[in-house]
Amino acid sequence: MRHKVAGYKLGRTTSHRRSFFRNAVTSLIMEERIETTVPKAKALRPVAEKMITLGKQGDLAARRQAASYLMTKESVVKLFDTIGPRFGDRQGGYLRIVRSGWRKGDGAEKAFIELLGSEQVQEEKKQKRAEARAKRAAETKKAMEEAEAQQQAAKASEGGESKDE
């Protein structure tokens, strides 16, 4: 009996759900890793694997099928040019879901879903984030120092005026 295994509705109407899947798969292909809730990640897995299978087929019909589902042209190009060939020797199981803690606002359990073999991309992204963070920190520090200098200058001029009176 395959009772009660109809899949995930995710509290959405059919069209809302379809939009969500299309957006999420497109993002997953472009970013290689996305963070969502556990049920969304699990619901996304079969959709994404079917897309990658299209990417592996690589012919024009498959390309048109993928283009009719994915949201951007760039994602289709990436799916067929880099992701499809990457999984050439693998029979499914292209994705990894890892539970990664709980969301602050509503306590939902978060997970990230990523393409296998995207470790290098993740490392590069991490590096970029760290650089951006360092840059931001340096800018804040500079702004604070400037503000302090200005304050001291203002104080000095104020003192001068009061002496004149």
Partner: protein, 61 residues
Amino acid sequence: MPNPKRRHSQKRTATRRAHDALKGRSLSECPNCHERKLPHRACPKCGYYKGREVLDIKEAS
């Protein structure tokens, strides 16, 4: 309408609740930092899972 005939004694209440205690979460040990963590999840302390998965964990400054 049916109603209780007798008041329950404290003992009867306590006896019924004898099996109501909550159990603690079963935890496993993180192979990387040896903290106790929930099984099948990335370690919230060091961000490791299965030897390599790293979440961005900020060091406490």
